[in-house]
Amino acid sequence: MTSIEGNRGEPRVRPPFPANKGLFGKPTVLNNVETYANIAQIILKGADWFKSMGTEKSSGTKVFALGGKIVNTGLVEIPMGTTLREVIEDIGGGVPNGKKFKAAQTGGPSGGCIPAEHFDIPIDYDNLISIGSMMGSGGMIVMDEDNCMVDIAKFFLTFTVDESCGKCTPCRIGNKRLLEYLDKITSGKATLQDLDDMEKLCYYIKDNSLCGLGQTAPNPVLSTLRYFRDEYIAHIVDKKCPAGVCKSLLQYKIVKDSCIGCGMCQRQCPANAISRTDYIAPGKKLAAMEIDPAKCVKCGACMSTCKFKAIIKE
């Protein structure tokens, strides 16, 4: 609305709400496109028709943008109350490559992650809120065991930090600091005190921000903390990323007894981090290679080029 009025795009204080005083001071109806699309159909076909679908409190249908680690990606429209399992397994065709379902992120950057334990929850507004997520934008991103939940939180928060308009303090500086905490965690430099402080900062930002963007920005962090706190702890205490995503915490290693010493990895390494050792593994003809962790930039080129599965990351 402020943009249409020719001003910098920023939220305004409410009350007054747009329905009372909106665009150019006049009452304004401000909704998502999907809401208007529904209203048109409700006017044409009547409320009873709309209420015949969905659950008692959440009528009608909902469109989801299904994506991530799933066989069938794309837009799906489901009646409210459909379970997550139905959406992911029946409609989406399940997680590809035989990997294990880890979580579904709904609601976009303001939403949260739903873990496997809630796989059978019927999707409606109240249920999603009760498990720390939301309907939000209607995004549904499926994650498997290869996804690091701290990294996921960081991904969504990077978006909100980018999108923050900069008007209010909690969102402008708070979310920036929150992202910096996540960076610290994923680079193995955080302490458990940082985790505590970060969690407090999340609740502070939710409680103090001026608009919906700021008030919901910490949700991806809070919901991953709720269901995957052990992953955060692993980053902090063990300095490990269980999913093997966070580069700073990864180490590429050559299993010397599997290495035939072909040297392919050495040729692929952009950082000259790989050299030959003196050790010749039993049954092999050439000396095995090794990686200097100080030089390694963790690009993974060696691992993908090795035909003998002699390079591992941990």
């Binding site: 308009c165 008007k167 209010c168 909690p170 500086i173 600091r177 103090n208």
Partner: protein, 582 residues
């Protein structure tokens, strides 16, 4: 219609306030202070800083008290741990991206962020991470912007837009990179900034300051080859005391003169003399325009930010401006011509310092056609704001409050009540009317008080019958109000003969160089009127209250200038303007 009253509970106490009150106002009435940073009465209610958050029963999150209206039955808590911890975190976040050079900061001990950080027991290093690193904007002769100290309260943006309708600053970029600057990151010197300094006086931190000339003045005082003369503007004497813990508007003329003398100035004069001189010239110019069919309405030219404003925004209306230099420039010009001759000094060896409630005066002294004694000899060499003078007094170890009351030096320290009221909106008009009326009628006025043009209203108008000559006058302060009168002129609909404009709301007493008062004081005390009351009291107490009765003025004309608006007076005391456009 009777105002509807609203009953609510604040911290468990019953409070009844008029409908439309915000929680902040209601709490204030109940004797509860809610801290604010971005809120500024009348011009900035944006709920951005979040320092004023409170709990409202039933609300999902905390709400900003500065913008949240009260409603019947509302229950508010202003000081729960949830609230106080939130405020503390907000302050700590602000501090995490703040250039913390508090010890040497110009706003040390007058910084609103600092005060709140102390109140809330903040850890200034609680949050570490990226910090902003903006270059200073020092491109103008009057202002320095240090965005590394900016907390994005946007009070400066609001002052520029709402008080002045200048609107040359705003928020640029987004998120963490948001900062206040001119459009397209242009330097302040390249836009239509008028230099009024209202942004400085509303800034809660040290992000905005005047460009200091203290070092130049100290160097001049220490130079044995310089004859250093100082003069003070009317409003400085009702502002300076505030820097030494006196109540708002305390008049300290005598102590100020004593302090300046002890600082080592060779002459301690009064720019009020320049104001009396202005009235002589401006009055004569007005009478001449009326009698000879000149351009009307004539508009006053004392306020340099106003001059720059009309040059940028209404270049075609420049002929309406009086050609008179401002009192400051007349003061410098008469020193470097008449007075230099009188004391047998080469004007090149005279260094004139003016003390002003104003930042635009620092710009004015650099204007072309402001050098009566010749090319390369500016009328004024240095301009200090009231704040800078206070700082110098402190630095030089002068115990201001213990000083005796002393007088200005003769002859350029002699002035009238008409001059001192130049400090308030309507004052120049009133001073001019006192002289114009007597000059036109040749009779003594029964009363010198033209109360119709007094008061802090943005636009005032009055009509006077001076022996059959109807003179319709208007007075505006705040450039947003000036714009209204100028639009009228542009449309050919102005009914006035004479218009007084002062750039700052309320006039110079509230100028951009005056002591900075906190937002809390600005929100709850009428600073303008309090300082103005001291000015009017001073006027009333003076034996002479009409410029043309100032004996020193009479002597200057007799000995040197001849008549007002004479050829010589024109050369020394009048100036020209520039069509700047936008």
């Amino acid at each position: 219609m009777e105002t509807k009253m609203i009953n609510l509970k604040i911290n468990g106490m019953n409070v009844t306030v008029p409908e439309g009150y915000t929680i902040l106002q209601a709490a204030r009435q109940a004797g509860i202070k809610i801290p604010t940073l971005c809120y500024l009465k009348d011009i900035n209610a944006i709920g951005a800083c979040r320092v004023c958050v409170v709990e409202v029963k039933g609300a999902r999150s905390l709400v900003a008290a500065c913008v949240f209206p009260v409603s019947e039955g509302m229950e508010v808590i202003t000081n729960s741990p949830r609230v106080m911890n939130s405020r503390k975190t907000t302050l700590e976040l602000l501090l995490s991206d703040h250039k913390k050079e508090c010890l040497s900061c110009v706003r040390n001990r007058s910084c609103e962020l600092q005060s709140l950080a102390l109140e809330y027991g903040c850890d200034e290093n609680k949050y570490k991470g990226a910090t902003s690193n903006y270059p200073l904007d020092e491109t103008t002769p009057y202002l320095v912007r240090d965005n590394n100290k900016c907390i994005l309260c946007r009070r400066c943006v609001a002052a520029c837009k709402e008080y002045q309708s200048v609107a040359v600053i705003g928020a640029n970029a987004r998120g963490f990179d948001t900062h206040i600057a001119c459009a397209f990151e242009n330097p302040l010197s390249s836009v239509a900034c008028v230099g009024c300094g209202q942004c400085i006086t509303v800034c809660p931190t040290g992000a905005l300051t005047e460009k200091s000339e203290i070092d130049n003045v100290l160097a001049a005082l220490a130079d044995p080859n310089k004859y250093v003369i100082v003069g003070t503007a009317p409003s400085v004497r009702v502002g300076l005391g505030e820097e030494f813990n006196s109540p708002i508007g305390t008049e300290v003329e005598g102590k100020m003169a004593a302090a300046l003398r002890r600082m080592g100035f060779d002459n301690v004069f009064d720019v009020d003399f320049g104001a009396d001189l202005t009235i002589m010239e401006e009055g004569a110019e007005f009478i001449s325009r009326v009698q000879n069919g000149g351009v009307l309405p004539m508009i006053t030219s004392c306020s340099p930010a106003w001059i720059k404003f009309i040059e940028h925004n209404f270049p075609d209306q420049l002929p309406h401006l009086s050609t008179c230099k401002s009192p400051q420039q007349m003061f410098g010009a008469i020193i470097k011509t008449y007075y230099a001759e009188k004391i047998g000094k080469d004007p090149k060896d005279i260094y004139v310092v003016s003390v002003m409630p104003c930042t635009a005066k620092k710009f004015e002294k650099t204007r072309p056609d402001q050098n009566a004694a010749g090319e390369g000899i500016p009328d004024i060499d240095a301009v200090l704001t009231t704040r800078e003078l206070a700082k110098m007094i402190k630095r030089m170890g002068i115990m201001f409050n213990d000083l005796p009351s002393e007088k200005f030096d003769d002859p350029l320290g002699i002035s009238t009540g008409a001059a001192v009221i130049f400090g308030v909106t309507g004052g120049v008009m009133e001073a001019a009317l006192r002289t114009v009326a007597e000059k036109l009628t040749g009779e003594e006025l029964p009363s010198v008080d033209f109360t119709e043009v007094r008061g802090t209203k943005g636009i005032k108008e009055a009509e006077y019958d001076i022996k059959g000559l109807k003179v319709k006058v208007a007075v505006a302060s705040g450039l947003a109000n000036a714009r209204v009168l100028l639009d009228q002129i542009k449309e050919g609909k102005s009914p006035y003969h004479f218009i007084e404009i002062m750039s700052c709301p309320g006039g110079c007493v509230n100028g951009g160089g005056q002591p900075i008062r906190t937002a809390d004081e600005r929100n709850n005390v009428d600073i303008k009127s309090t300082r103005a009351a001291s000015i009017y009291a001073l006027d009333k107490s003076m034996p002479l209250r009409k410029s043309h009765e100032n004996p020193a003025i009479i002597e200057v004309y007799k000995e040197y200038l001849g008549e007002p608006n004479s050829h010589k007076a024109h050369h020394i005391l009048h100036t020209s303007y520039i069509k700047r456009g936008l």
